[in-house]
């Protein structure tokens, strides 16, 4: 029996992709958060995927970590802002909204693909169960 492992493979991918979608949502929500609980502006986050070896030759996906984007923060001249520094510049998150939207679409498509994979496997297994009837 190999087809039942499709559920483990696609299931792990669903978990990973939904975590990616969560991170995208968090980045988009905080695209303009000038300060966070630590007093610093929000830094964009990205998930890291790696292969999760399963029994046999099957390979799932897992999220090995969420890393902060090291690119420079956005700085705008806004001297009237209470959080502006002595030169009048305000530090804003380094979230690239266009990139995040692309990431979101990619994650949602990958999620849909895996749901379809699971549905096909389910249909095949149900048909196998009726063998000889």
């Amino acid at each position: 029996m190999a087809i039942d492992k499709v559920f483990d493979v696609a299931g792990s991918a669903l978990t990973a992709q939904s975590q990616r979608l969560n991170v995208v949502a968090s980045n988009l929500a905080n695209a303009d958060s000038a300060t966070g609980p630590d007093g610093q502006a929000y830094r964009a986050r990205q998930v890291m995927f790696s292969t999760l070896p399963l029994e046999g030759d099957a390979a799932g996906v897992r999220v090995t970590g969420v890393v902060e984007d090291p690119s420079p923060m956005r700085r705008v001249y806004e001297p009237q802002h209470p959080l502006a520094d002595k030169d009048g510049f305000l530090t804003l998150p380094n979230v690239n909204v266009v990139e995040e939207m692309v990431n979101m679409i990619s994650a949602s498509r990958a999620y849909q693909n895996n749901v379809e994979t699971m549905n096909t496997a389910k249909t095949l297994l149900l048909k196998t169960l009726t063998l000889g009837q």
């Binding site: 492992k5 995927f49 790696s50 030759d57 799932g60 996906v61 249909t123």
Partner: protein
């Protein structure tokens, strides 16, 4: 007698097992479409089926792919590898996945036909 029944169903049972293995590999490829450095994998179905059928048949009562003839997993040659080292081409994988599912169902239909024939012979 039981052996002859096994022999009759062996071809389609083995093919069905291999189709299942391949379905699992293709699902792994689709799941890892965004994993850096993942290399898409597949089996050469015709060769794997021949190897499984040529292998000494499993002891009575045991069906499916013989232990010594597990399919050899190969890496797919790819037209456009990504910059992150991933070689999954989603269009190819989805097409192969759909085709493999269809052939799995075809195999089931053939097996069902054989079983119906046998039942007709038994019941008269």
């Amino acid at each position: 007698m039981v052996n002859r029944l096994d022999e009759l169903l062996r071809f389609h049972a083995t093919a069905l097992g291999l189709r299942g293995e391949r379905q699992q590999l293709l699902a792994s490829n689709i799941a890892n479409a965004d994993t850096p450095d993942y290399k898409a994998r597949d089996i050469d179905f015709a060769r794997a089926l021949k190897a499984a059928l040529d292998a000494p048949s499993a002891p009575a009562g045991q069906t499916g792919i013989p232990a010594g003839a597990q399919p050899q997993v190969l890496y797919r040659t790819v037209q456009q590898p990504s910059a992150d080292g991933n070689t999954v081409d989603l269009d190819v994988e989805r097409a192969q996945f759909a085709q493999n599912a269809l052939r799995y169902e075809a195999n089931l239909t053939f097996l069902n036909g054989q079983i119906k024939t046998l039942l007709a012979a038994i019941q008269g």
